[in-house]
């Protein structure tokens, strides 16, 4: 037999004896799930958070327009890297970032945008939110996204991606290590994490391991910061800062009070629109009806409910502006209401014990 056919025969026979270990298939399947999750979170972070049970995005009491993806439903105005550096809020945030993480100085600004205002003409009014995405050069470089309150300059949300080596993503570290990474990020970008009590729990997400870390002030039940750790991403939202709501935990998730919607539903205007006390509303919601359904039984339309809540939230947002005045006009109010609507809709259509 010529050597060519001998080799060919050998290779095909040998191939038959090679079995792909099941562990390999399992690992690839997991990688695929992670990929799908990442893709979805890129398109609408909504999905990822639904997967993660709790939607931190819609927790926006006083000042936190924490949710870039929902806000993306409203038109964003793209900004150039130059405009970011000219923008007072952007500039301050970048300086803070560079000081805290000196390596980010060499990162490229790969994306930036703002809502409201006009980056090319600052006299057109201020932006409500400015978002900046920086990335290390190279295909899988470190990435950081900052969402800034355009009015107060506060960092509302920060996303830190790929800061650990790909083979050993942040989620694979020990609980203690994960917590210290999150602490570090809070300390450097927000202020001190030490005065908050941290509660870390795994989320019941079958597709992908996820941790949620709630940083709560002593005596308070509502978290001040909330962090999600998933894959190689840490995502922190600023939630707190407002007065404690009168009734807490309108909804339940896994049998635990869910504070997600509280800031929206603790609204005097809403209670008077529905002719209900907060306790009654909580009781009705506990039966599994949504706010919209409760309103409908009283012949109140979804739009009315939405208007009331969105307008309260928009006013709160404007009041949070320490400089006041300049933004307190109908145009800004309307714009804020429009931005808030999708979030409000989510809250008022939500039912207790269902995933967000």
């Amino acid at each position: 037999m010529p050597i060519e056919s001998q080799i060919s025969e050998y290779l095909h026979q040998e191939a038959e004896t090679m079995e792909c270990p099941p562990a390999v298939s399992k690992r690839i399947e997991q990688s695929y799930s992670q990929y799908v999750q990442r893709q979805r979170s890129k398109k609408t972070m909504k999905k990822r958070l639904i997967g993660g049970i709790v939607a931190a995005v819609i927790m926006i009491p006083t000042a936190a327009f924490a949710a870039p993806p929902l806000i993306e439903m409203i038109t964003r105005t793209p900004m150039t890297a130059q405009q970011v550096k000219m923008d007072a809020v952007g500039q301050a945030a970048l300086e803070k970032l560079y000081r805290s993480y000196p390596e980010t100085k060499s990162f490229e600004i790969i994306d930036a945008s703002q809502i409201g205002g006009d980056p090319a003409n600052t006299s057109q009014g201020k932006a409500i939110q400015t978002s900046i995405v920086l990335q290390e050069k190279g295909a899988h470089g470190k990435k950081v996204r900052l969402d800034l309150n355009g009015i107060t300059g506060e960092i509302e949300q920060v996303n830190q991606e790929n800061w650990e080596p790909q083979e050993k993503p942040v989620i694979s570290l020990t609980d203690q290590e994960i917590k210290s990474k999150v602490d570090d990020l809070i300390n450097k970008l927000y202020g001190s994490s030490s005065k908050y009590e941290c509660n870390m729990e795994p989320m019941q997400n079958p597709d992908q391991k996820t941790f949620i870390l709630n940083y709560t002030e002593k005596g308070s039940t509502t978290p001040f910061y909330q962090a999600f750790v998933q894959g190689n991403t840490i995502s922190i939202s600023l939630i707190g800062g407002g007065p404690a709501p009168s009734v807490e935990g309108f909804f339940m998730t896994n049998g635990k009070p869910d504070y997600t919607a509280d800031a929206f539903l603790n609204d005097e205007e809403l209670f008077s629109l529905l002719h209900m006390s907060p306790a009654d509303l909580k009781q009705e919601l506990a039966k599994g009806a949504s706010v919209v359904e409760i309103a409908a039984s009283k012949k109140i339309s979804k739009q009315q409910v939405m208007d009331v809540i969105a307008s309260t939230q928009a006013k709160k947002q404007i009041q949070a502006d320490p400089h006041g005045g300049a933004t307190d006009d109908d145009r800004t109010l309307e714009l804020l209401k429009r931005i808030l609507e999708p979030k409000v809709l989510k809250v008022i259509e939500h039912k207790t014990e269902t995933p967000w």
């Binding site: 050597i3 080799i7 050998y10 290779l11 026979q13 040998e14 690992r27 690839i28 695929y32 990929y35």
Partner: protein, 191 residues
């Protein structure tokens, strides 16, 4: 499976369809695993490379032209990931284990006895004496039946280089398989 339907499945998979993922995985994993196993000896390395290949598969869909055979594209991915891995491990060797580079040859010697029970141990040993580059060409030619021109495209190297690796590989195999009449002929001619 035809390239076109593969492409369809691939597109669905990109959208996050678990079913599509399983269809595509089941249709390809054996071939991919075997190819990788021929080219890479260490089981842990194979596992890492398999994972990389599939991750690459769903991220590089935009580069796939549905008019071209799916398996050819897939084998391109396989080859590139194996090569990437080799570059990486080469760096690792250089930095941390410069002295042990030579022990790799001995490692190859041990392998065939471990995993070959049914097939010809002599050819197996001979295959493992090939350099990585020669082995890649031999596997593509004799396991996947690619023409030398196709191998040129897959490896992205000149035809002359493919030919010389091919001939050097065959020569080495002949030399190892000492009992072949062809080998003696070759030896007589060559030396």
């Amino acid at each position: 499976m035809q390239s076109e339907s593969m492409y369809h499945v691939l597109t669905k998979m990109i959208e996050g369809d678990q079913q599509a993922f399983h269809t595509l995985y089941d249709a390809t994993y054996k071939d991919v695993y075997r190819t990788v196993s021929f080219l890479v000896d260490h089981p842990q390395d194979r596992e890492d490379i398999m994972n990389e290949i599939y991750m690459q598969m769903w991220t590089s869909l935009p580069n796939y032209d549905p008019n071209r055979p799916f398996h050819f594209w897939l084998h391109g991915l396989v080859i590139r990931q194996v090569q990437r891995f080799r570059v990486k491990s080469w760096r690792r060797f250089r930095i941390f284990e410069r002295i042990r580079v030579f022990s790799r040859e001995e490692y190859h010697w041990d392998q065939p006895t471990l995993r070959t029970d049914r097939t010809d141990p002599e050819i197996s040993r001979a295959m493992h004496k090939l350099t990585d580059k020669q082995r890649t060409v031999i596997i593509l030619r004799f396991y996947h039946d690619y023409t030398l021109e196709e191998i040129v495209t897959l490896l992205d190297i000149p035809l002359g280089t493919v030919k010389s690796r091919y001939h050097a590989g065959l020569q080495s195999l002949r030399k190892q398989l000492g009992n072949l009449p062809l080998e003696r002929m070759e030896k007589n001619n060559a030396y």
